[in-house]
Symmetry: C3
Subunit: 140 residues, 3 copies
């Protein structure tokens, strides 16, 4: 069994934004030499997500408005008790749960086994900090 590990680093200027990382992950699949296996891609920080959806700017604007409605930003420690710690990112911990921490993608014949529109995104909900994403492949 082969394995391959890579840490990607991001520093997203906006508080909330989505970065297409499909090409970077595909490069790691190539480097791994894995032909048949599984590829895990996960945020290593708990106010960020990795998710798969469409690379369409209108949809990304929709997601941002929707997440802001489901878990609005507030720095107040009365709105988010988490902010009593001195942080102001209580909302980001909620947005991340909706969008998810990780994706697992099949590797078939040496490639990400994707449907026609699947693209992998890093989702940032508390930007302006350096954060990491883990890419881990196992297989033959």
């Amino acid at each position: 069994m082969k394995s391959h590990t890579r840490y990607l680093t991001f520093e997203v200027p906006a508080r909330m934004d989505f970065v297409n990382i499909t090409g970077t992950v595909a490069d790691e699949v190539n480097k791994s030499g894995v032909q048949e296996g599984l590829c895990l891609v996960n945020a290593m920080h708990i106010t960020a997500s990795v998710f798969i959806n469409d690379d369409e700017p209108g949809l990304h604007a929709d997601y941002k408005r929707w997440l802001e409605k489901l878990a609005p930003f507030s720095a107040s420690p009365d709105v988010y008790h988490h902010n009593r710690t001195g942080e102001d990112n209580g909302d980001a911990h909620h947005k991340r749960q909706v969008m998810g921490r990780e994706v697992v993608v099949a590797i078939t014949e040496g490639r990400l086994d994707f449907g026609p529109w699947e693209q992998i995104f890093y989702g940032e909900f508390d930007g302006g900090r350096r954060k990491r994403v883990l890419v881990k492949l196992i297989g033959d």
Copy 2:
């Protein structure tokens, strides 16, 4: 290490509906010959989900009402900017995020290692189109 890949095809008539695919996935586990490993099942389309929950019609009706409340259908490009592309499925991309893209299931002694009520569902949020689900097994 063994691996096994299968593509399932669905064309669900209703806009939103859930299809129990547990038996089909279990058949693929049998065919794979994997005794100890992992089984990934994921929607290959970004307006559909694969999730695990109860096969109970009342619950499925509840999920449909709830998802419609969290991300209501609207064809308007003002409500979902995604619909400016000519699509009317902005809501479906949101419903899919709540229910998730994929499940990973343990294979133990050649079987899906499930609790008493776990069942795997294909979740369709923009029906009337042919879509695929990927089943990928790796293990020994």
Copy 3:
């Protein structure tokens, strides 16, 4: 390829609560002898979750209020048709979908490959019952 399977049992007194299981999962990683691989941790019951986030009591209080707002408890079979079965846990099946069923964690150099704040939680949404969590490792 090595594999390792362990079933954890919980009986959480509160209806909704979160239990940090990171140490228990790390012990299983050690016992497995896996140096490079993947670790699946999933709830085996459909009114419970396994998720990764911060071990911070304020955040956990926030999550509980938020989930109660997104999917409020009601024993009424009119509010949740699922409760027509005689259960009163319709809400719990919804809360579990928001928080997720499972996590997949990379194993690198024999350890859970985690960012600085990542902790694994069992999330209970219909407590007072014995329930199980599955830990499955595969790798070399």
